[in-house]
């Protein structure tokens, strides 16, 4: 892959090399001028590059995506959205075991146990996501309908039931309506997450890339004008020469200083 830094770096290196070769040539020429009685009275020619303006034409051959950790993106998104998801679960109405006529939201049934319930369900669902991340990501992105109406619904129902049992909460989760309400919530969650996860992945891919450039004549000669990129560089060449300085101890130090 050819990158912008490679091209500019090579050009700057080339300028330095050109200057060195020019100086070597001048050095050799000065010796010849010295030895030739006819040339001795002529000034020795010396080319010096002080500034260069360079225009380059190139084309972007390809945008090369850098690795984007899609699994981590999906995991983070799922875990971030869990709290809001659980609020929809807590809003589902269910009857009490002790009084089937008392139908109210899960959160009202739980009362002071709500925080413990949320913690247990969050832990269960987080563990499931983390331990099955490959499968979760694949199904969520490719088939959110299946993920929401089955996989995530089942995991949610199991986690809720386990928490209710562990807390000995007075709620009856055996009704058909509860299963349907969980499925509605998990389906909506999956649909929303699929859109958000895909957007996050697309944005990450859009932000992390390299440009592979076409610079060789045979690569760009047939390309139309409207696809050609251009880079213009203005370069100044500083010349340096050795100078000797004495430090406080009287030691001579040779330094490169700008001419």
């Amino acid at each position: 892959m050819v990158r912008v830094a490679d091209i500019i770096g090579a050009l700057l290196r080339g300028l330095t090399t050109a200057r060195i070769q020019s100086d070597i040539f001048s050095s050799q020429a000065s010796q010849q001028y010295l030895e030739d009685p006819n040339l001795r009275s002529y000034p020795v020619p010396r080319a010096e590059i002080r500034q260069a303006d360079i225009n380059m034409r190139m084309a972007v051959q390809e945008t090369v995506q850098r690795n984007v950790d899609e699994l981590t993106l999906v995991e983070q998104l799922l875990l971030e959205e869990l709290a809001e998801y659980l609020q929809t679960i807590l809003a589902i109405s269910v009857p009490a075991v002790s009084d089937p006529t008392l139908v109210q939201s899960l959160s009202l049934h739980l009362g002071a146990q709500q925080d413990a319930f949320v913690e247990q369900v969050t832990d269960a669902l987080s563990s499931y996501v983390t331990n099955n991340l490959d499968a979760v990501k694949l199904e969520l992105l490719d088939n959110p309908k299946s993920f929401g109406s089955k996989t995530w619904r089942d995991e949610t129902a199991d986690a809720v039931e386990a928490a209710v049992v562990a807390l000995a909460a007075d709620v009856d989760l055996g009704g058909v309506q509860f299963g349907k309400d969980v499925q509605d919530a998990s389906s909506a969650f999956a649909n929303k997450l699929q859109v958000e996860a895909q957007l996050e992945i697309d944005l990450a891919l859009a932000a992390f890339f390299d440009l592979d450039l076409a610079v060789k004549k045979d690569q760009i000669i047939t390309l139309p004008e409207h696809v050609m990129s251009e880079i213009k560089l203005q370069v100044t060449m500083d010349n340096y020469e050795w100078s000797s300085v004495k430090n406080a101890q009287g030691e001579v130090t040779n330094r490169l200083t700008q001419k």
Binding site: V4, A5, I8, R19, S229, K232, D238, T253
Partner: protein, 124 residues
């Protein structure tokens, strides 16, 4: 068709590449010539909107006159359009969905030889 990229990130990527050039110039044996000062860089890079929508204005200029890299980075942040930049994609796009990002930046002069930490100032 390639994956789309964010227009501002295209400019930021070019600045990242210039930062690499500066870093190489500072490192001994970095391969960038001693005493070479890359003063200004102007880049013109064609793009096409990723969804085929019309691009207006067709030329987006970051730096009418060359700007320091940090300033150019700031100005690139609002350019959040999704675009395609590969030659094949730009060529395949309709003329009205094509644009050009022009960016002009100045680069700092390499450390002076008098600087105590001057990397290309060997002493003997």
């Amino acid at each position: 068709m390639s994956h789309f990229v964010i227009l501002g990130r295209v400019g930021a990527h070019l600045i990242d590449e210039l930062d690499k050039v500066l870093a190489r110039a500072k490192s001994p044996g970095g391969g960038v010539g001693v005493g070479v000062w890359l003063r200004t860089v102007e880049v013109a890079i064609p793009f096409a909107s990723s969804d085929g929508s019309d691009v207006s204005p067709t030329t987006i200029v970051v730096g009418e006159t060359p700007l320091p890299l940090a300033v150019a980075r700031e100005l690139l942040l609002p350019l959040q359009q999704a675009v395609l930049v590969s030659a094949a994609d730009v060529d395949a796009a309709s003329p009205s969905s094509r644009g050009v990002l022009v960016m002009r930046v100045t680069l700092p002069r390499p450390d002076s030889p008098d600087s105590p930490n001057e990397p290309f100032n060997p002493t003997t």
